[in-house]
Subunit: 557 residues, 2 copies
Amino acid sequence: MSLDRSTLRWNGWGPLRHEDAFARNNALWRFLGTALGGVELPATPATPLANCRLASPVLAFGDISPFQTAGCDVAIDAADRAFHARGDSYRDLLALRAGHLDPLPDAIVYPKSAEACRGAIQAANAADIAVVPFGGGTSVVGGVSPLRGSHRAVVAIDTTKMDRLLSVDKESMVATAEAGIYGPDLEQRLNAEGVMLGHFPQSFEFSTLGGWIAARGAGQQSNRYGKAEHWLVSARLATPAGAWSTEGYPASAAGARLTDLVAGSEGTLGIITDATFALHECPAARDYRAYLFRSFAAGREAVREIVQAGIPAASLRLSDEDETHFFGALGRLQAPPKFKSRIEDSYLKLRGFGGAKCAMITGAEGDAELVAYARSRIASIARKHGGLSVGTSPADRWFKGRFHGPYLRDPLMDRGLGVDTLETATSWSNLKRLYDAVRAALLDAMKANAGVAGGRGICLAHISHSYVDGASLYFTYVWPRARGGLDAEIAQWTAIKSAASDAIAANGGTISHHHGAGTDHAKWMAAEKGPVSMEVLRALKSALDPKGIMNPGKLGL
Amino acid sequence: MSLDRSTLRWNGWGPLRHEDAFARNNALWRFLGTALGGVELPATPATPLANCRLASPVLAFGDISPFQTAGCDVAIDAADRAFHARGDSYRDLLALRAGHLDPLPDAIVYPKSAEACRGAIQAANAADIAVVPFGGGTSVVGGVSPLRGSHRAVVAIDTTKMDRLLSVDKESMVATAEAGIYGPDLEQRLNAEGVMLGHFPQSFEFSTLGGWIAARGAGQQSNRYGKAEHWLVSARLATPAGAWSTEGYPASAAGARLTDLVAGSEGTLGIITDATFALHECPAARDYRAYLFRSFAAGREAVREIVQAGIPAASLRLSDEDETHFFGALGRLQAPPKFKSRIEDSYLKLRGFGGAKCAMITGAEGDAELVAYARSRIASIARKHGGLSVGTSPADRWFKGRFHGPYLRDPLMDRGLGVDTLETATSWSNLKRLYDAVRAALLDAMKANAGVAGGRGICLAHISHSYVDGASLYFTYVWPRARGGLDAEIAQWTAIKSAASDAIAANGGTISHHHGAGTDHAKWMAAEKGPVSMEVLRALKSALDPKGIMNPGKLGL
């Protein structure tokens, strides 16, 4: 694997020693305390691993050796079990930081090839051991929690030692790679051949090809490169029923395309061992720039028109008033405005952008002619909806910091703050209703469950991905953490999350656009799919995993 | 329904009395006879319905009344049973024209609403009656053959009385319509609102929305508007397990998207009662034009580059040398070349296009700027690959005649000729291998099975639909029909079809790109999907149709 896991946080994001840009920025913490209702921000550090009690693994030597015989490394040490104890959801972090690591996987199994992975699944199936597929482990919906279901033990099968790029077909613009390859490693190897996949989720640095597919993920340039279900050409899975290869044609009418069942399967059918995916030329040109709109509604209409006119944008990201304001304020707190910026501010006020305003980041990537075409059409549509071009620098800043979001969670959680994100999608005609309802639900629930007298939450939102028929909404929300220990904190988070999820379900949104369902969304997913679809999913699972060993409890299966 | 079935041929294509443009064109028939090895072309007329013996229906009054109670019309007359006896494959036509109509549906059930359709399925399920879903009935792969499987009777459920446009959401650019609406009726009603679906298969005039989805069809402008699986947003089905509504979000990560299982289901899971699909503005501009390439390989590279560069073409159709030559010759036989054409010919020879050449029809549709952008980029890429622009007239002629192909089959079959088409798809890097293999297999098999001494076949091919990772190939082939009756003719067709299908399977193609699998492709589909995928399909069917009454024998299920 291309990352040394021992250098990474087992209970947070990224390397053990990454720089905390905000540690000594007292102005920032004062600003946040005020925004959250004038609350104090106490130190709330995480429990070190040495102080955590880990339940002993239940597996005997006789259970371990079949995995080794199949060609897998097996680990049972505390550090490895802790790393595989949870994903990266807020609830996961609450538990890890409190030192409550149970349930833990009884062992970590590292197949070094697809064949070894198939052997490991067969061994687990024969021995009644539940399997949790684990790539980068960045699930934010409880997708890698080591639940054993009705089985006698549970192992994590970690795919990151299956990380070879197997083939690149530049004529057909497809490549095949093993599923455990990390994002940067994959792109680097593809770039060396002049091509790219172009899947850049916020977790890009620490997530894997297989995880992107299993969770039906989306990258920040998905308008051009597609979500996982769009760029996935075919997959091979190790399932309890045997090796399963899905169709690999550019298009076919020979029955349904079962490849589509792999994207979003979240390890419940088997482990993706390798996948074939669409490539693009490394873009000869890139143009990222920002526009300001007088309202979220005006910006939304611009995004809709750009997408529906078939303009080849790579990114269209429209922040609501609060997100635009908040990130503007954050920027100022990091670097106080210079004279030039103050002049710009006056100009904006003159043009009617003094109060509420919404920033849109637009991006185009490809050959020079395509980028020129996209840029000019985006500009004219933005103008038509009252958008004011504010140049390339805000967009360049966004582009440079596009993987930085998750790094903020650890320092926020160290300072008594809760932070979570959620996302949904709906049709254009329903977007306002959904946005209003989820935002209101989050703000109400954060206030009602503040945990600190007078406390309230902050809710920021943006349109992150857009389609001809609708768009996704991405919410980031911060609140003062409850006092009184883990149970109180989980209850607080559950109340907020449930309020938002209920609002999504009641207002025509999907419970997830790209995070997946895992355990946290299972209840809402079942309601969203309906009883007949859930019966179909159970039938599918039953065909491939008759004993139910694959990732029990996920997707409600 | 918008078409009066009594005006349509029950054993051929289109209206009973459509003009046969070739009837008195002796030059054409001489040309064809020569091309096929100097064979004579005898009159081989179809058997009139009055001379056919129809087996009596096995259903009693008590079997019929539950369908009526559910809100369906029921027909058992000979004309209606004959119309529903087969689809439009060559094998279907052979049987119909010979007067061999068995098996026949025992009744035709016409639900007038989704609710009535659900009632009909429940009634059939309760009474052990197999159901063949029937829309326009234009399947060319045996998809509507009334096989009863192990059940005691079989009814066709004809959807064409469910033909309402239910809603149009111009903000989200989606509409919902009942599945039995015919193509022209659907587009006319959408066009009245300024929008379109843009699905124009060759069968457009006589096929339905539900059929397009069930067979994973493709229209001739699918580069822009997508195949059925791309424009399908959600579907509602009547299944033996109850009403099934699939997800309707622009994108979701809440498990796999089960909507994807509906496209290509060919009635084996249930009947699509209504569907929501993507819309486009009626194009403000259209540009169709033709280019000539010195070889199929050069044209193929142009198509590949256009698609991989993300140029928004609506159609890219590249004919091989024989197809270009043949249609050129056909055109001359219909309208002898004028002086201007002869000058053009001389010019082409001068430029090196005198011998082998391949015609490419390109089309762009959308707003004026998009069309201008697409047109200019297509032109420059075509030039780069040696393409010579031959203007808009050949493309306009193609556009005007784009639904005419199937009308030629009846006159050909009346004159002792067999004619069939097949299509496949593969990756760009495998396209030449597949093209060569299928073409050789067809030519060899037509010669080996000529049925007339010295007879041979004609094989024409084009790239019809293209993708970033590959393209489809469409073959049209004509041969002298065997003498000696229906069995000999079916044996001849089977030998030719099997040779081509085996060549597809052995050379990395899918057995169908947009015709579907039905009965004729079931064997190759099973091999293509593999045993695990077939097990998954059986599990799916079992969940929704436990007694197996839905379209038995199709897709090998």
